[in-house]
Symmetry: C3
Subunit: 273 residues, 3 copies
């Protein structure tokens, strides 16, 4: 099933508008090409509405936000909503500063997102900030483990319902929920934390998967998460003596380049709760 979501990307070549940070933007572009999508970057307020209009969706990443690009995020997001295109938020570093937190909260208030992807700390910040968590929710631990999995799944489902978005939490165990079911995903390698931008790459790719699978968005989001983790496993298996994180980054993108639905279905490790 998840494999089908990837094949749909290759068959439809979704055009993805990215307003993303300048640290990992090149890798986002290359992984989008690798998975069968096509990337466009534009963050100038006067340019974004035109660009997003010719795309199938918009990936907003606040990693190196500034006042001009924030304005671009809102302008592009409004146009995306107006057109009914896919809209995804990657709230990089939310909680680390007032501008980031305020911007992410305001984006959530004024725009309708299809999906939000972050680590547990970022997602918790959004949940607490938007007043949608109370009591036990806020107690969810800072890492999703086998021990606290039940609470974490409940938290993610709950926030998905309250926010009206697909919520994807990445970590050693990844969780993807639309509020009804929750994909618990165990693909990936711990070494992926040693490359910059694995999360940003996933956000770009997830946007492409959502565009290509309008009738199966939760599956599409889960498929993107499994694909990224599986690429981390395949890329790692190709590491040679002396290779480190810079080469690993290339091998992960290379693994996506060669992945198709069959490989993904065979390698995806997940359960649905």
């Amino acid at each position: 099933m998840l494999g089908n979501c990837m094949d749909n990307v290759r068959n439809t070549v979704p055009l993805v508008h990215n307003i993303t940070n300048y640290v990992t933007v090149n890798d986002v572009a290359n992984i989008l090409l690798a998975c069968g999508g096509s990337p466009i970057m534009s963050d100038e307020p006067e340019d974004v509405a035109d660009i997003t209009s010719i795309c199938g969706g918009l990936n907003i990443n606040i990693g190196t936000l500034n006042k001009r690009t924030i304005e671009g995020m809102f302008a592009a997001g409004r146009k995306t909503n107006e057109l009914g295109h896919v809209l995804l938020l990657d709230p990089v570093g939310v909680g680390a500063g007032a501008l980031r937190t305020g911007t992410a909260m305001k984006l959530m208030e004024e725009l309708k997102f299809d999906a939000i992807k972050g680590n547990i700390s970022e997602i918790k910040t959004l949940a607490i900030g938007s007043g949608t968590t109370k009591g036990v929710d806020a107690d969810v631990a800072d890492a999703v483990t086998e021990e606290n999995l039940d609470e974490a799944v409940a938290f993610v489902k709950n926030f998905a319902v309250k926010s009206g978005c697909i919520i994807a939490v990445t970590g050693a165990i990844d969780l993807v929920s639309d509020g009804k079911k929750c994909y618990v995903i165990r693909n990936g390698r711990p070494e992926m934390e040693k490359i910059t931008g694995a999360g940003c790459q996933l956000a770009g790719m997830m946007t492409a998967f959502l565009i290509a699978n309008p009738d199966a968005k939760p599956e599409a989001a889960a498929a993107a998460v499994c694909a990224m983790g599986l690429a981390g496993e395949i890329g790692w298996s190709r590491m040679q003596d002396g290779d480190g994180n810079s080469t690993y980054r290339n091998r992960i993108i290379d693994a996506i380049y060669h992945m198709n639905g069959e490989i993904l279905d065979k390698g995806a490790k997940y359960e649905v709760r």
Copy 2:
């Protein structure tokens, strides 16, 4: 002959000022170093005139333009013209939005370019927008093929005359013309479309080739196009099992690093019409 243009780059180490997009800027810098040039990036209006003054030419790429960098493009371009340095335009995404199209047209009106490099769709947009195409010209197809080659050559020659620039159209078949003759180039690999920034890299390298060959600019532009395509072929021949687009990007730049005039002359596939 073309090989000589590349050797001149290595012998003179041209300094290239780039106002380019933040997606592929690192690859532009590395390919400039690989071919024997030297890159500088600066887009702040108050900095660009000083920087361009110490360079031999300026590469303007509008891929992630914003209002501040547009101002920088005009300021740097005027200084470059004033000093008689090489000026190149890479109109990335022109036609995809009003700001891009308007900026590219205004750059062409206010500045004197030595060369413009784009895909057929971008070049057609410029030709139509600048009112230099009429009737049959506007009918040129959206890809240059063996079937429509005669019309495409005529279109490119015509636009080169009317714009007063060397026009380089990249695609499966590349065309480079100064209005009199047209290089028809058949180097390259289709897989190059799966890496981001091959065109941006070519634009940076072409600027270096133009600076290093002031008396043979059409040949220099054609040499840069052949070198990029040949690097795509050499890079591809070094791909190993499991390598994908991320590694391919590295291998293309690596191939430029090892290329010299002799290798280029041996591998260049072109005819002059």
Copy 3:
């Protein structure tokens, strides 16, 4: 001794705030992860104080400065000084234009830096501009060689005293001085000049080393320089037929990824004068 400085980085995972150029920012992030640190990038004036507050130090690189990011540099630098965090300056291209030179001088006047790292030409520009060099100092050659080593060491020691910073001059021979002693370092490969951003990467890594070694800052700065040069040697030894500067960039970061204190102590080539 120097090896210990590297082990301290891996043991404490210093968080480094970088306001750096968009050309090499991805490599800076990846080398920081490779050496055991953790990178954050933020240059928006309204965001930087929050971000720098959660970090251990700030790396300011003026390579693609603009008016907004200059404001961010001062705001972040003041907060960093206020908190007593590590502050480093990489004055890329100072002397190439009035805005760069003026900004670097003003940063030195208004902020208290722990270290400044540049090539000899950049450091000379700062020394002359700040009026701290007279007579013989200004005569120091444009490259540090075995022939002019004595004068160069004297110049660097002198400027370290007058500026109150650790001064690191990179080149064929690297010099690091706190004004009392001077590390003369002979690690590295000439081919490192053919990759963009080796210096930027070093600046990021040096900031991490300084944070992790508060009581041995000169040693920490020297250790970072040795580590970078040694990585250049190890990376080069792993180059295969056809590999060029793009692959070399990856291999250098990979070499840092596998380096530890023992490897560094064994490979570091330096004397103290």
